[in-house]
């Protein structure tokens, strides 16, 4: 299957088409001006917390993998047990494919929303949407809150018609 990443505007309208959770997370981010606010706590199981990317060509280190996240679902509970080793356990080609949006979100300090079709393993091609929220603490510490959700059938075509 053809691998791709397609960026979409990170707006409430577009997110609501695909994911109520994604829209809620974007709302929290907007309300808090990108601060890692307590409202994110309720979504802890559904997201990943990541370090800022070190390079535009590789995905960042993972700090926390939500127990109900898409990543844990596709890569497995064993993979999710050790977040700091999880990045290196993913295929390098996949990490490279999905890396640039992490970098752009961190560099621009703005949410990035994209659609992705990727071979997550030899026998697993998945299409999903991803919302990357760059957050910071009041002490100046930067992290990324990342929410991903598998696309329902035809969703990528439907979202294209919105734009």
């Amino acid at each position: 299957m053809l691998e791709y990443t397609e960026r979409r505007p990170a707006t409430a309208l577009i997110l609501e088409e695909l994911s109520t959770t994604g829209a809620q997370l974007l709302h929290i981010w907007n309300q808090s001006n990108g601060h890692l606010s307590p409202e994110f706590i309720d979504y802890a199981r559904k997201v990943l917390l990541m370090a800022p990317p070190a390079t535009p060509g590789d995905s960042p280190d993972i700090l926390m993998i939500g127990t109900e996240s898409f990543a844990r679902h596709v890569f497995g509970s064993k993979w999710a047990q050790h977040p700091t080793r999880a990045r290196k356990a993913m295929p390098q080609t996949y990490r490279k494919l999905v890396a640039s949006s992490y970098w752009n979100a961190y560099q621009t300090n703005k949410p990035i929303f994209d659609l992705i079709g990727a071979n997550l393993s030899d026998e697993s091609y998945r299409e999903y949407c991803r919302l990357i929220l760059p957050v910071h603490s009041r002490a100046g510490v930067s992290q990324l809150v990342v929410f991903t959700q598998e696309l329902p059938n035809q969703a990528s075509r439907a979202i294209s018609s919105i734009n």
């Binding site: 917390l49 926390m64 127990t67 510490v141």
Partner: protein, 84 residues
């Protein structure tokens, strides 16, 4: 960074009791304004946002899980200080 907060970045600290280690973790998380991230990890692991309400074994798991976030925070702060 103060020495007492930096202690939480070290893997093995025989000089601190478990209770002191938990308090040190909370204090360091507060210093970096990362209490939300700490609560997210607690919720994700044990469905409870408050580390002080967890069992000692659970607290140890949270401490280990949260340590990379503290190392990251410490590194970022040090890099900013060097730039400044």
């Amino acid at each position: 960074m103060e020495n007492e907060s930096a202690l939480s970045l070290i893997w093995h600290r025989p000089t601190l009791s478990h209770k002191e280690e938990v308090l040190d973790l909370i204090k360091t998380a507060e210093k970096f304004d990362l209490i939300t991230a700490l609560k997210m990890m607690c919720i994700n692991l044990y469905d409870c946002p408050y580390i002080d309400l967890l069992s000692e074994k659970q607290q140890k798991e949270v401490i280990n899980a949260f340590r990379p976030a503290l190392v990251l925070a410490y590194t970022q702060q040090r890099q900013e200080q060097e730039v400044a």
